[in-house]
Chain length 148, copies 12
Amino acid sequence: MTAILVLNGPNLNLLGTRQPEIYGTTTLADIRAMVEAHGSRLGFTIEFEQSNHEGVMVDLLHAARGRVAGVVLNAGAYTHSSVALRDAISSTELPVVEVHLSNIHAREAFRHVSHIAPVALGQIAGFGPTSYTLALDALAAHLGRERG
Amino acid sequence: MTAILVLNGPNLNLLGTRQPEIYGTTTLADIRAMVEAHGSRLGFTIEFEQSNHEGVMVDLLHAARGRVAGVVLNAGAYTHSSVALRDAISSTELPVVEVHLSNIHAREAFRHVSHIAPVALGQIAGFGPTSYTLALDALAAHLGRERG
Amino acid sequence: MTAILVLNGPNLNLLGTRQPEIYGTTTLADIRAMVEAHGSRLGFTIEFEQSNHEGVMVDLLHAARGRVAGVVLNAGAYTHSSVALRDAISSTELPVVEVHLSNIHAREAFRHVSHIAPVALGQIAGFGPTSYTLALDALAAHLGRERG
Amino acid sequence: MTAILVLNGPNLNLLGTRQPEIYGTTTLADIRAMVEAHGSRLGFTIEFEQSNHEGVMVDLLHAARGRVAGVVLNAGAYTHSSVALRDAISSTELPVVEVHLSNIHAREAFRHVSHIAPVALGQIAGFGPTSYTLALDALAAHLGRERG
Amino acid sequence: MTAILVLNGPNLNLLGTRQPEIYGTTTLADIRAMVEAHGSRLGFTIEFEQSNHEGVMVDLLHAARGRVAGVVLNAGAYTHSSVALRDAISSTELPVVEVHLSNIHAREAFRHVSHIAPVALGQIAGFGPTSYTLALDALAAHLGRERG
Amino acid sequence: MTAILVLNGPNLNLLGTRQPEIYGTTTLADIRAMVEAHGSRLGFTIEFEQSNHEGVMVDLLHAARGRVAGVVLNAGAYTHSSVALRDAISSTELPVVEVHLSNIHAREAFRHVSHIAPVALGQIAGFGPTSYTLALDALAAHLGRERG
Amino acid sequence: MTAILVLNGPNLNLLGTRQPEIYGTTTLADIRAMVEAHGSRLGFTIEFEQSNHEGVMVDLLHAARGRVAGVVLNAGAYTHSSVALRDAISSTELPVVEVHLSNIHAREAFRHVSHIAPVALGQIAGFGPTSYTLALDALAAHLGRERG
Amino acid sequence: MTAILVLNGPNLNLLGTRQPEIYGTTTLADIRAMVEAHGSRLGFTIEFEQSNHEGVMVDLLHAARGRVAGVVLNAGAYTHSSVALRDAISSTELPVVEVHLSNIHAREAFRHVSHIAPVALGQIAGFGPTSYTLALDALAAHLGRERG
Amino acid sequence: MTAILVLNGPNLNLLGTRQPEIYGTTTLADIRAMVEAHGSRLGFTIEFEQSNHEGVMVDLLHAARGRVAGVVLNAGAYTHSSVALRDAISSTELPVVEVHLSNIHAREAFRHVSHIAPVALGQIAGFGPTSYTLALDALAAHLGRERG
Amino acid sequence: MTAILVLNGPNLNLLGTRQPEIYGTTTLADIRAMVEAHGSRLGFTIEFEQSNHEGVMVDLLHAARGRVAGVVLNAGAYTHSSVALRDAISSTELPVVEVHLSNIHAREAFRHVSHIAPVALGQIAGFGPTSYTLALDALAAHLGRERG
Amino acid sequence: MTAILVLNGPNLNLLGTRQPEIYGTTTLADIRAMVEAHGSRLGFTIEFEQSNHEGVMVDLLHAARGRVAGVVLNAGAYTHSSVALRDAISSTELPVVEVHLSNIHAREAFRHVSHIAPVALGQIAGFGPTSYTLALDALAAHLGRERG
Amino acid sequence: MTAILVLNGPNLNLLGTRQPEIYGTTTLADIRAMVEAHGSRLGFTIEFEQSNHEGVMVDLLHAARGRVAGVVLNAGAYTHSSVALRDAISSTELPVVEVHLSNIHAREAFRHVSHIAPVALGQIAGFGPTSYTLALDALAAHLGRERG
């Protein structure tokens, strides 16, 4: 079994707990369940984390080094403001797939810029919770290619 | 069976035909085969097209209206220069998943801007040919949600 | 009788064929009929063209040289991206009235910039199909002044 | 009979009084006559005003509320500097057609930006005095559609 | 004999056919003759093409791959708007000399930016038809160095 | 015989004296020899100068006025920072061909801007020492046209 | 009793007179009554003015010098365009509290810039008519501190 | 009684402890006392918090959801750098009044931009500790209007 | 005798009436006296005006046409915001010398931009009241050259 | 003995633990040893800290106030994103020497901007671990001057 | 007698020696004569210098320190590119009047920026050789005020 | 013994000769003495140069090639304007430590940009004359590492 860190940034803990008629009723726990189920089909064990703290997210990436084969990262708002996360990815050399629930390129201009993207394998944005399972598939393909 | 248009833009016809030690040997024909195989698993018939002509790509999107359920679009260089493609997507109201073989956010600054993204469902970039099969999965999930 | 080229750019062929409750039901064929009727009142024969291809639009402007007295140009998305159309107008020295159905100055910022305007006689934007008949009137006045 | 306010901004009072070999000899009085004649053909009574004062122009728009059916506005230099006129249009909710004698998009870069355009029905620029009569036609069409 | 593609972009077909007192009377056919004569002195056979279509120009570059030793490219207006041509040059790995009849650096600011230049061998601009024969000489020297 | 000033700017004196495996072994003396040989074929006597001083370069252009028929100018770093050289060219009204050994448009962004280009006949960049001989040919053609 | 000038800029006279279902029915007269009532509780006599004229607003600030203890200024659209009002505040050295009914920082980008703010005591924006009574309280505290 | 969170950002804990001749001697404890006194007059119980940690501030906003009726937020330096706080406000849908002790619009340019303002009810800046009590009044009025 | 209009813009009426220890005690009346004395030495009669109203300043320039030989214009804050004054100068074709008491180029960045300068004869800034008498001398020289 | 805080920001804990052939094998522990040794020669006791948390770094600076004589700060990625650290330095009035292992001015453009530098004594960048000992020397000189 | 340095920058030595029908026939020697004559009326001895070398101009300013009472500086092209001249003025603390023959604010945008102006007493631009004599008058007034 | 060039740019010759109460009384001769003393402790012989001429500074760098082991460069104002110095450093491949007496990052924005930094080993700014001795230490460490 291969370990994958699925790391969620600020405010994602509130997902699905308000205005279900607008944002849907999928909670982060629901996403976790989906991700764990999909992961297990791919032979992945999932470490699923969420933090509102930039520093904690950096710590979690550091702690994952040498222990997980890849990272699915939804950095939330820190996508657009955190150079520290960018450098954590470079420093740990972990393969990271950047995900977003919404299509950040269709929102406010400041959300079009990602500090994560230039050091990630790639970006998947706009598909809701499906973004996460696609990211697992992308990691599986990437790790397969590396091994293959 | 549901029809999906997979539309490829300029220069993608040359894929895999030069410097295999650098860019790999996957050709567009190989991607087509992968896409058709993956599509058939999802119940999709694939219309696979490539053109170096912005106008032809607009025409193909128009022609797809009412006939396909979704589009996987790798607009290549037109991603960054074509307002016409953007408006074709808006006008046809087709659900479009934007894909890129490379991580455009890790390349030259002018490739960070996509005219397609604001009118697409979402964007998948950086996973090589796998970007296409992820896009099919994303479309499948999207169409399922619409029907669901 | 004086010939006038009325040249329409990308996606305008789809006009009126979808979401009539939002965009109205006026099609490009309806506009053509309005333009031909109004033109005949002004002593104009109308050559009415539409293309999704930038290059075809350039070709049509070239072909019009020496044969038409003026051009009504709705370049659609190419308004904002095509230097080639701008240079085609300069090169053919045809008097061109730029038209837009919508008020481009009230839309996204990238639609405020027109490559056509600096080489056109003037711009008429925001009056729906009426923009076209106003443009014919503007051409009639311009040609009258030239002759007068 | 429907009343229309034709409001002219700074320096337009000097029109036609100097360098006739360059700018022509059409004065603002001539334009008034043209506009009144064309207006009467359309069933419009014309209130023709000119002021060099931004505040007076705002006052005139306020005073027009509820009394005129539409406005033809050549805001002259205030086009490019007056947020107050923009807000006056929004506040009075009068349908406004923005006109310019010259093609402002072919002049200095600071004249390409209009504070008026985003709150106007549309813009007509570059046709000399004809811009005004075209604007009356545009208003007639607009008012007809509203009633129609 | 070595084949060279001389590829001309939009509006260059109109060269010399209007206002000879201003732009001179040299037509594109004249340039072709000059280029063929100069080419034959250098041992080059010349494939001389012109198109107003960005896509056709991309196609012509693709078709030249493996058949010509170098390209003289006057991309005209597409110099400033076409990422597709840039990528076609990168993709085909053809040595390209960018030429311009006029000194683009002395014209409007938007003509100072070339999408072609960063992937070309070099740029020759401002010498009228002589730009083309200089480009042939530059290619000859480049090809000589490669062989030498 | 016609005199031509070939003026070289800062740091060009070091050419070819270091890292021959990277930059080649062509020295400025070698370029001088090439230029003099090519010049004599064209009927040009060459005044070949190099200075690291902006002021000396301005002085040399002034001194050339009335004595040389044209200038080949490789202003090196001053290309990007010197308004004084630009004004010296305007003031002396000498026909100047701007040359660069490297393709400045493919290097750092600050090297894309040339203060020289807007007042030069044209620019030749990217062909190594060949840039100089092409520049002589361009001057010969220009002077021939002037006389012709 | 201490006199306070409450100065209102362009278009604020129209407040509450249209679309009550959207903007509410509070008129400027209502605000005046609220302000006078609140002022009298604080020991302030209120001079309540409105003008659509930038120059009149400057005149009113000049006239207030030496006669009022402070100013509540809702400069409306002139907030974003008037350097003259800024300089009038600096020149008169009156303590000014800038107020806005709406949250200007949540509206169009051009409304985020205030020429008034850098020379005001502070800014209160977004609380509807309450912004005015808060401003009186802020002035009372400021004047108290000055005296205290 | 209605609970209000008064949340203070980085470095505000140091208030009043240095250079009293410049910054005054008001400490954050003094502000707390003022706020609690003023709050109790308005029927508010105050939860007064300070943190130098962006993540803790996000946590505190989350924890306040459903428990407080409104928030007074002095985000200090995070005003200008934190997208996470912005999103926390949007996500919790808490009514937030942004306050600043100093007039941020009269300081360095980077302090003119607030990530908080676009999602806050409004902004009060420049009145020292009084900014806080004004914010409580603003919240009281807002909550009254909501209930009213 | 030759008439000269000396036109002063907003807030200049307050000159010298406050903080004499900082700004000096020279009032606008003092400047008027200096200007009249200096003017009479040059054979100029002076029309000395001041207004806080942009529109009045435009009116005064219009009224001066044909009656004065030149204008000394200290547009104050309108220097940086008024396109209307710029166009009034162009429209009246009056020779205008722009003056400023302070060195506007050493103040805030927004004061470095003058809408007046591009249409004025020249600019004199930074010499206090002496700027005015220098401007009269400049006009005298200009008018002498014109006559000479 | 004088206490000095040496504060290290995010990701610096990973130093030297990967790719020794590229980044060398110096760890943060090695730097600590160097700094302590060098500090003891200067009569400094060293408090050596590292944190990935912006808030913790602010807390550490606060806690150092009154206890240390100066700070050596390598803020890592927070150099470029943290206004909070900047304000912590201003608020504590500690003399801070900014250090960087790499030459940040030779890296990506976003690393050229330091929020720390404007409130630091000075900056030392580019000398690897030596940057730290140079910073101690700089602090020693600064403290000597203060005492001297 | 008071000494004044009149320092002229690059290319001004060529003044009046070409195209007299356009630029006039006034040479720098003529300006020197005018300046010396006007200076002697004011009690000034004139040191009149010209150099095309930035470094020489810095040297001349240094050498003037303590020997001249003021400087009239026409820095020519170095106005727009030389920080060294700016710092030389700051370092020598000489009162400098910046002059320009032409109205630099009506020319190319890069000529609107002066590195000299922020450290000069003021700027006089646009009056041809008269700019110099006005500058002497400005210096006389400035020196008189200093003494007065 | 190892030779080191310490090269000082424009205006540094004036150091310490004016306003000692502000800038201190340290002259460039004092710095030279400090540098020579510190250098001799490190086994360095110092070549200490100053010039106000950009070209002379380039010449001195060229002349140092092959003769000195490193350079301490305080380019003064040329730091911000000279591409020639940048290229001289690249061309000579000398290890250069950039120094500044003041903290350039805390001064005007145009002083934040250094043309030298991207090609230097590193930058030391803000420590007065101590910057120079720190630079020698940095060079010693660098040269030791190279040898070590």
